[in-house]
Amino acid sequence: MDLLEYQGKQLFATFGIPVSEGRAVDSVKEALAAADQVGYPVMVKAQVHAGGRGKAGGVKFAPDAAALEEHANNILGLDIKGHITRIIWIEHASDISEEYYASFTLDRSAKKHLGMLSAQGGVEIEEVAVTDPDAIAKIWIDPVDGLSESDARAWVLAAKLNPDVTDGAVEMLLKLYTAYTDGDCDLAEINPLIVTTEGKVHALDAKVTLDNNAEFRHEWGDFELTQVRDEREQAAHAKGLQYVGLDGTVGVIANGAGLAMSTLDVVNQAGGKPANFLDIGGGANAEVMAGALQVINDDPSVKSIFINIFGGITRGEEVAKGIIGALEMVDISAPIVIRLDGTNAEEGRALLEPHLSEKLQSKPTMLEAAAAAVELAKKN
C-alpha cells in the first residue's frame, strides 16, 4: 500500500523523524485556516499517488494568504497523471541549505535491507544512479543485526555529506531505519532530506510503501481510506480477491498467481485482450468463485469469461459448485469457457456436465479454452 506524502510524514513523526508542521485539507477555507496555524510562508502540496507533482504544478510556495488562496484553488481538482487532487498538504516552508536523498528497501538478490544515501537529493534517484552512480552510498544491512550507529556513521561519511551535519544525519538515518523495520515498509524514502539554514536535518518529503502482508500487526485503517483503486478493483478488494484491472474484453479467473498470469499470456497469444487479472487463490470455495464471477460480470467491457482452474489447494468440485451457485445467484451476461484440471477435477467436470450450454462451455486444455474465449469475445 502506497501512502500519500502527509501520511508518510505522520508515520515518520511517530518514530521521531523531524518533519514540518502541517495540515491535510480539502478546501481553500481549511487551507487558509491551516496556514494561520502553521505560520506563513507555507508550501501547498498536492496529495496524490503519483510522482512528478512539482512539474505538474502541484507544489507551490505561498508567502501570504492571497498567494495561498490562488494556489489552493488551482491545485484542488488538478489532474496529475490521471490522479485528481482531492487533498492538499499545507506546511510551513523550510529554509533549505542542502538537499540529500535517503531510503531503505529490501534487496531481493542480497536478501538484506539496502540503505541508499546521496548528497545529490531533490531529483530522481534513478537519474543519479545512471549519470553518477558513485554519488550514491549503499549499505547492506543484515535484518538480524539491524543498523548500528557505527555502521550508520561510516555510511554517512561515505556519502560525503556536509561534515557539519554528520551527527544529525546519523540520528536521522537510525530513526528512518526503525520506521522502515518497525513500520513494516517495503520502501521508506526521504527525497529531499534537507539541511536547513540553521543546520538541522529534516524530512521535507516522505515516500512510503507498506507491506500489506503485515497489516495484522498495525493500525492502518486511516491509510486505507485514501487508497485510490478503480471501481472494479475496489469491489474485488472488498471480497478479498487478488484483482488487477486491465483494458481488454476477456474476463479472466484463475487459481494461483502464476496460472492467472499465464492465462493473460495465452489470451494474448490467442489474439485477444484480457480485461483483468483475478487470482481466486488457495482454498477458494463456492462463495469465493461466486464473488469472482460477480466482479467480472459487473465489468461492462467483458465480452467473454475464461475460468482457468488447476486444482491443488482448490478442489475441482468446489470450483464447479461455485460456478453453478454463481449462475443461480447472478445473471451472468457474458458466455463462460471453463478449463478444469487437477485435484478432484473429474468430480468437478461431472457436476458441471448437466449445466453445459452455449453460455457455459468446457474445454480440456488451456490453449483451446483461451482460443474459444477469445473467439466468443470477438463475436459479442
Binding site: 531481493r108 535484518p143 502482508n213 486491465l246 496460472l259 487470482d279 486444482g311
Partner: protein
C-alpha cells in the same frame, strides 16, 4: 534418486490440528509420505487420525525421529514456527503459508543462514515439494505426477508447477523431484539451490524451470546455468503481458522501474542456452522433445 526429500524423510506438521493442516497432512500420508507427528502447544498428547501431537518440534523429533517439518501455521505465527522447527532439530522446513510479512522472511532467512546453516527452508508461500512415489510434502495433488525421472522441476508458481507435472505425465515422462520455491520476495530456497542439487542428482537428466515476473532470480539462474550446468534446461516465464507497477498476486511478482520483465528473463535464459516456451504447454512440449531426443523416456 531425488533431491531434498525421499522415502526416508519423516515429517512433522506444524498446524496439523488446523483444517488446512489436517486436510493436506492426511492427504500427504495417504500418498505415502511418512507423516510422523504434528505440533500444537495446547494439544500435546492428543492425536489427529492416529498421528501424535506434540507441544513443539523438538519433542516430536525426540519421540519420532522426524527430520523435516511442514508449516501450515497462519502468517502471524510463521516466524516463530520456522525457529521452532530449526531449533527442534529438523534439517528441512517447508512453509506453505502465504501472506508472511517480507521483513519476517528476510529476518528468518538470515537467522537460519547464520545459526542453522545445515537447515534448508522451502517457501514461504509455496506449494511444497514432491519426489513422486516417495514423498509429498505440501499441497500438490500427488496423482498428477509420474514417479521416476528423468526430469526435475523447479518453479516459483504453485499451479504452474502442477500444470508442468501434468503435461509430462500425459506424455508418460517421470519426475525425480518437483520443487515449488514460492512467489515471495525472500524465498528460503532459490532456483540456483535447486539447479545445483539437480545437477548433482544422477537420475535427473534434464530440468524444467518455471519463473515469473519480478526480481532477478531468473537472471541469476541463467548465469548459473551458463557457467555451472551440463544438463539441459527448459523454461517458461509467466507474465509476458503483465503491465508495469501492478503486483500480479504474488508479493514478488511486480515489474518496477523497467526491471523484472518476462522478456528480459527469457532473453537471459535463452542466452544461457535454455529452451524457452512462450506458454506452459509449449514449455511442456519442449521438455518432451529434449527427453525424446536423448532417448531418456
Amino acid at each position: 534418486m531425488s533431491i531434498f526429500v525421499d522415502e526416508n524423510t519423516k515429517v512433522v506438521y506444524q498446524g496439523l490440528t488446523g483444517s488446512q493442516g489436517r486436510f493436506y497432512g492426511l492427504r500427504n500420508r495417504d500418498y505415502g509420505t511418512n507423516v510422523v507427528a504434528g505440533t500444537n502447544p495446547k494439544k500435546a498428547g492428543e492425536d489427529v487420525d492416529g498421528i501424535p501431537i506434540f507441544a513443539n518440534v523438538a519433542d516430536a523429533v525426540k519421540e519420532t525421529g522426524a527430520n523435516a517439518a511442514c508449516i501450515f501455521i497462519p502468517a502471524p505465527g510463521v516466524r516463530s514456527a520456522v525457529m521452532d522447527a530449526a531449533e527442534g532439530g529438523v534439517e528441512f522446513i517447508v512453509c506453505i503459508t502465504e501472506g508472511v510479512p517480507a521483513h519476517d522472511e528476510a529476518w528468518f532467512f538470515n537467522k537460519l543462514k547464520r545459526d542453522f546453516p545445515n537447515v534448508r527452508l522451502l517457501g514461504p508461500n509455496c506449494p511444497g515439494i514432491i519426489s513422486p512415489g516417495k514423498c509429498n510434502i505440501g499441497i500438490t495433488a500427488g496423482e498428477i505426477a509420474k514417479p521416476g525421472g528423468p526430469v526435475g522441476i523447479v518453479s516459483r508458481s504453485g499451479t504452474l508447477t502442477y500444470q508442468a507435472l501434468y503435461e509430462l505425465k500425459l506424455q508418460d515422462i517421470g519426475v525425480t523431484t518437483c520443487v515449488g520455491i514460492g512467489g515471495d520476495p525472500v524465498p528460503g530456497t532459490s532456483f540456483i539451490d535447486c539447479l545445483e542439487a539437480f545437477e548433482a542428482d544422477p537420475d535427473t537428466k534434464a530440468v524444467m524451470m518455471i519463473g515469473e515476473i519480478g526480481g532477478s532470480a531468473e537472471e541469476e539462474a541463467a548465469e548459473f546455468i551458463k557457467n555451472k550446468m551440463s544438463k539441459p534446461v527448459v523454461s517458461y516465464v509467466a507474465g509476458v503481458t503483465a503491465p508495469p507497477g501492478k503486483k500480479m498476486g504474488h508479493a514478488g511478482a511486480i515489474v518496477s522501474g523497467g526491471k523484472g520483465t518476462a522478456a528480459a528473463k527469457m532473453e537471459a535464459l535463452e542466452a544461457a542456452g535454455v529452451r524457452v516456451g512462450k506458454n506452459p504447454t509449449e514449455a511442456g512440449e519442449l521438455m518432451v522433445e529434449v527427453v525424446r531426443e536423448h532417448g531418456w523416456a
